[in-house]
């Protein structure tokens, strides 16, 4: 097992060209990139900076343009407008084989006529690496992805998980400045997917490489990435850390796309210091913390994550000082969804709407569990609310 890979061997220069920028320095700059197919703007004026050593995820529903953007980085599509700068050099029009970027394909795209060893060595041979060095590098890669003993197998003699590892080893073998991963775990079953997520993160950290992953699975993006770019209809809707994306979504659409959320439409009523009172149709007046970016007067939505909604039989048991500002909603339990670690209760409010509350099952035998049609109070603090333009 090789734990540390030398970063500046002659081979990496032969394969990659330029030396790596130090971690944290900008590696890739995407400037106003647009790609249209006919009249359809698949990618529409996207600008994005990615730092060396970053694990970046492009997240979005299918057809949002994330794969097209990735394919432009790999060189399979050329942008109609905009620049793609890698280490300061515009590569927007460079052909795939001229770029120090490698890609791990969605269904792996392993060469079926080549053995595991030859698949991994393919890129090294193209770079003109000497035979002896290729053998060493291939052995390194095989050890890295734990495929020892399978070097002579053909791809169709491997399991899905093994194929995924070969694809990863093949893409990493040239030590690219940037590794693109197109839905790399989509073909694996859930258990394997979760363990592989961890391995990918560990590998990325150990090699100090820059990864850009495309995924439609928000949990996968949240787990692995340092930063997430959410795409919608060809545009970047928000670029943020997983926590920021979840706790401070910038729009109603993002709030609903990432995780579960309760949304109450309403209008701003009055300001009380750092608090804002918003009158909602379904949940009455809600007190929220004043948002960082001022929201316009018109229609608003109050968003609250289900796990931040607490339930109790008689109302919040909390410090007297905060009591006035707490949002209390009376209702009855309308639906119970037991998920193992948590239970999601749907509460039908007396004011008309419903609110979802997710409660951790912290005890095995829970005598306090709520039952259907039980009267409860759902409550949450102003700081847990997010105000979004409607």
């Amino acid at each position: 097992m090789t734990d540390e890979l030398p970063r500046t061997s002659t081979a990496s220069n032969a394969a990659g060209g330029d030396p790596y920028p130090a971690a944290g320095q900008p590696l890739l700059r995407i400037e106003g990139v647009t790609r249209t197919f006919g009249t359809f703007r698949a990618v529409d004026g996207v600008s994005l900076d990615i730092k060396a050593g970053e694990f970046f995820a492009l997240l979005g529903p299918s057809g949002c343009g994330k794969t097209t953007l990735l394919r432009m980085l790999a060189g399979f599509e050329a942008p109609d407008e905009g620049r793609i700068l890698l280490g300061g050099k515009d590569i927007a029009q460079a052909l795939p084989h001229e770029r120090p970027i490698n890609m791990m394909f969605q269904n792996y795209a392993l060469f079926p006529h080549l053995s595991v060893r030859d698949n991994i060595a393919f890129g090294l041979k193209r770079a003109g690496m000497p035979r002896a060095e290729i053998a060493i590098r291939v052995a390194e890669m095989v050890a890295l992805v734990k495929l020892e003993g399978l070097e002579k197998r053909k791809p169709d003699q491997l399991s899905g998980g093994q194929r995924q590892r070969v694809a990863l080893a093949r893409a990493l073998a040239r030590r690219p400045q940037l590794l693109l991963l197109d839905e790399p775990l989509a073909a694996l079953d859930k258990k394997l997917r979760e363990s592989t997520q961890g391995e990918l993160m560990e590998l990325q950290r150990r090699l100090g490489m820059t990864f850009i992953i495309v995924t439609h699975d928000q949990e996968e993006a949240m787990t692995m990435a340092d930063r997430i770019g959410v795409m919608k209809a060809g545009k970047l809707a928000q670029v943020a850390s997983p926590r920021e994306l979840y706790e401070a979504p910038r729009s109603r659409w993002i709030a609903e796309f990432v995780g579960d959320i309760n949304l109450f439409d309403g209008e701003s009523k009055l300001r009380d210091g750092h608090r804002l009172v918003i009158g909602t149709r379904d949940a009455g007046a809600l007190v929220v913390a004043e948002p960082r970016e001022p929201v316009g007067a018109g229609r608003l939505a109050v968003a609250i994550r289900p796990e931040k909604v607490k339930l109790s039989r008689r109302g919040p048991v909390s410090e007297a000082g905060r009591e006035t500002a707490i949002n209390r909603l009376d209702g009855v339990i309308a639906d119970i969804c037991y998920l193992g670690g948590t239970t999601t209760y749907k509460v039908k409010l007396d004011t008309g709407g419903t609110v979802q509350a997710s409660v951790a099952n912290s005890a095995r035998i829970d005598v306090d569990a709520y039952s259907l049609n039980q009267h409860v109070v759902a409550w949450f603090t102003p700081d847990d609310c997010v105000v979004l333009p409607s």
Binding site: H97, I101, F105, A109, F111, P112, R126, A127
Partner: protein
């Protein structure tokens, strides 16, 4: 258990069917031809000797068997005419197959990369010549290639030549005819393998640093080899025995084995030599067939 037997029986019959077919329509006729090949020419009806007569009794049959000999096969090997005919057949077939591959591969590749709905159109265009009789199409080529034919008219009009070129009764005319006639048999299996191939494999090769020509040689071509093999066999084997095209389009100074067979059979009425020539041709053709099958088997075992 009983239900399994009900289903097993028709399945077993289905498995036997190809063997019955082989025996009835290949092995039995082959035995006839082999027997004639071992006989001697005779001015009689049928024109060879001995004739197996099952009604004449056991001794007569034994005598007939004793009269069989390998004389015709010895003649085939010793007489230059036949050796040359075989060599020419193989040369023509190899040359034509290479030409077919060189012309057919780009066409098949182009077809496989067309948008889906255009692929169907291209497919029809490849097959459409079959709707006209083969013979009529070859006669059409005679028309095109003759002294004042279309080809010479075009060449003259474009001032590419100053005098009409002699095309008919040349090897060029024969190759034009063969390539034209067999092209669909080369294109279709190639197209089938190339269309099945995932274009993402070519992208992966490019991504790993292979310029386009390497992508072709290292990925596209090796993966299309089953199609190449099928196309080559589908063309090579019938071209070796080709009779009509060389007879109508090529000169008469060197004959292919198909023409020699025809001469022996119809003109010389020498059935035994014609039969022997046919059997040798079959053996010659079996060699590449077995070679191909062996290669495929090895590949299958490798994959397992």
């Amino acid at each position: 258990m009983s239900s399994r037997r009900i289903f097993a029986r028709p399945a077993r019959f289905a498995a036997i069917a190809p063997y019955v077919w082989m025996v009835l329509f290949f092995m039995v006729p082959f035995a006839f031809v082999l027997k004639i090949g071992l006989s001697q020419t005779a001015i009689a009806q049928p024109p060879y000797d001995p004739v197996f007569d099952l009604t004449a009794g056991w001794d007569a049959l034994r005598g007939a068997f004793a009269a069989l000999s390998f004389d015709n096969f010895k003649l085939l090997v010793s007489d230059d005419i036949y050796v040359f005919a075989y060599v020419r057949s193989l040369t023509v077939a190899i040359t034509a197959t290479v030409l077919l591959l060189l012309i057919g591969y780009p066409i098949a590749y182009g077809m496989a990369r067309l948008p889906r709905r255009w692929q169907a159109v291209a497919m029809v265009l490849v097959i459409v010549p079959f709707w006209t009789s083969f013979l009529i199409r070859i006669y059409a080529w005679i028309n095109i290639l003759q002294h004042d034919g279309l080809l010479n008219q075009i060449l003259l009009a474009l001032h590419l030549v100053s005098r009409p070129v002699v095309w008919l009764s040349t090897d060029s005319a024969m190759y034009i005819g063969i390539v034209y006639s067999y092209l669909p048999f080369m294109i279709l299996p190639l197209y089938a393998t190339l269309a099945k191939m995932e274009p993402v494999l070519e992208e992966a090769a490019g991504d790993l640093g292979a310029p386009p020509w390497q992508v072709f040689w290292l990925v596209t071509f090796p993966l299309s080899l089953p199609g190449v093999g099928a196309g080559v066999l589908l063309c090579f084997i019938p071209i070796v025995g080709e009779f009509v095209i060389p007879d109508l389009l090529a000169g008469s100074n060197s004959l292919m084995i198909g023409q020699t067979l025809w001469l022996e059979f119809f003109t010389n009425k020498d059935w035994p030599v014609a039969s022997a020539a046919a059997i040798v041709l079959l053996v010659v053709l079996l060699v590449p067939l077995l070679l191909y099958e062996r290669l495929q088997k090895r590949q299958l075992e490798h994959e397992r």
